[in-house]
Symmetry: C2
Subunit: 232 residues, 2 copies
DNA sequence: TTTGTCTTACATCTTTGGATTGATAAAATA
DNA sequence: TATTTTATCAATCCAAAGATGTAAGACAAA
């Protein structure tokens, strides 16, 4: 049986009709891609995605009507395996970060050479994630900055280190929303003992109540799973 | 006044003496780099970093004695502006992610061509962050996976959407550790009103007390800065 | 206009939380 | 061995939090 090389199906979403036409022509020249639809509306684009199930979507994310990032997110939620490449006029690190976070498989600037667009599509079609080197650098600046605060705040002094093993157990249960009775039951000790521990925890963490204790714990890397803040 | 083109100072840390020697010779051939030190020990490497203040450190992260990632972290904490490039034998996405998270300016496989190493050093020396395309792809697989769980868990139903604007304000203050009096003072309303709001919040979030409400809020993307869990 | 939601507010009552003091036994440490 | 830390428990007291019901004025939608 002879094997046919299937063409990848592409959907274009861009509110700029001129740019849309240009990209369409460009892609049509490539033998390995078929443009199955074009639209200037993000909402229509989402419906076309459901209908045509393209392999790849090129999505302009600088649209006034609807946020392109939001559109990407909605398409990702459909879980149709559609690979979305973000097209943008800006190499803003925050934009790049957010696009990649919500699942874009690539991010290309509109000013980039057409060859780069095709290359990105080739890579993405092959199951990879593609970001131009320059944008990768931008992304990582943002990415690493997100973690810097954490490192610096941690380096001050972590009052959690003063807690005893038992106190950590109690705090762990506090961070799960337990009250005295719940903690006492889970640790098989009396409620008054829990009170003693909790009071000692308050002293050591220099807080006034359980909510503040829980917040301190979560913000200072309590437990095995460290939670990290990333502004999105 | 005549300007001299300064050579970049490089420190090599690699527990494999053979590899260390090879890399040293390779770099010495380059006119723009000076190897100011080599060592097979991570701990000694950290001390050499303090002493010589190199521009760049090539750090093997697959060392038995001390974890190379930990060493990178310690060097980053020194805040000397030293750019660390991770050298590794593995293109494991988790390793790449962790290295970049703690501030590595690059990640190179030992099996890669020497030209790529030099190119990475050039880029990093110029203040950029460099990851080979293949590793970038790996990184993003891991990165995007970290957020997938969040998206699915969020898609269940976010009870926070039922809160009124005022209730959100109150909850915001709750998540900052305020008690009734504090909230009342900050919103210029009476304490009893705050109680009413808080009780309504409990109903809507289906929780029993403020700690649980705060935990629900933090775990369900409350506020403008959404906190995201990334296992590290 | 009527209906409904939101925000504000108060009263009352019960439960929970937090502070303080004191005490005992085991375990770790000097 | 002597001393300190840790974990356990209790009693008491006051403050804070939480549950419940009621209600008035603002405002928007039907």
């Amino acid at each position: 049986m002879r094997e046919f090389k299937r063409k990848f199906r592409v959907l274009l979403i861009d509110d700029n009709a001129d740019h849309l036409r240009g990209v369409k022509e460009l892609i049509t020249l490539e033998s390995s891609y078929d443009v199955v639809g074009t639209t200037t509306s993000a909402n229509i684009g989402i419906n076309l995605a459901k209908k045509y199930r393209p392999d790849i979507i090129l999505m302009d994310i600088n649209m006034p009507e609807k946020d392109g990032l939001q559109a990407i997110q909605e398409i990702e939620k459909l879980n149709l395996g559609i690979k979305v490449i973000a097209l943008s006029g800006y190499d803003d690190s925050d934009l790049i970060f957010r696009a990649m976070k919500i699942g874009a498989k690539g991010y290309i600037l509109k000013t980039m050479a057409s060859a780069q667009l095709i290359y990105a599509m080739d890579e993405v079609a092959a199951g990879k994630i593609y970001l131009p080197t320059a944008l990768t650098s931008r992304f990582f600046e943002y990415f690493q900055n997100s973690f810097k605060e954490e490192a610096s705040s941690t380096s001050e002094e972590n009052l959690l280190t003063y807690l005893t093993a038992r106190e950590e157990e109690v705090l762990e249960l506090l961070t799960q929303g337990n009250n005295y009775k719940g903690i006492a039951g889970k640790l098989f000790i009396s409620e008054t003992t829990v009170k003693t521990h909790v009071n000692n925890i308050f002293q050591k963490l220099q807080v006034n109540d359980r909510t503040q204790a829980v917040l301190y714990a979560l913000n200072n890397g309590f437990g095995n799973k460290r939670r990290t803040k990333i502004a999105v």
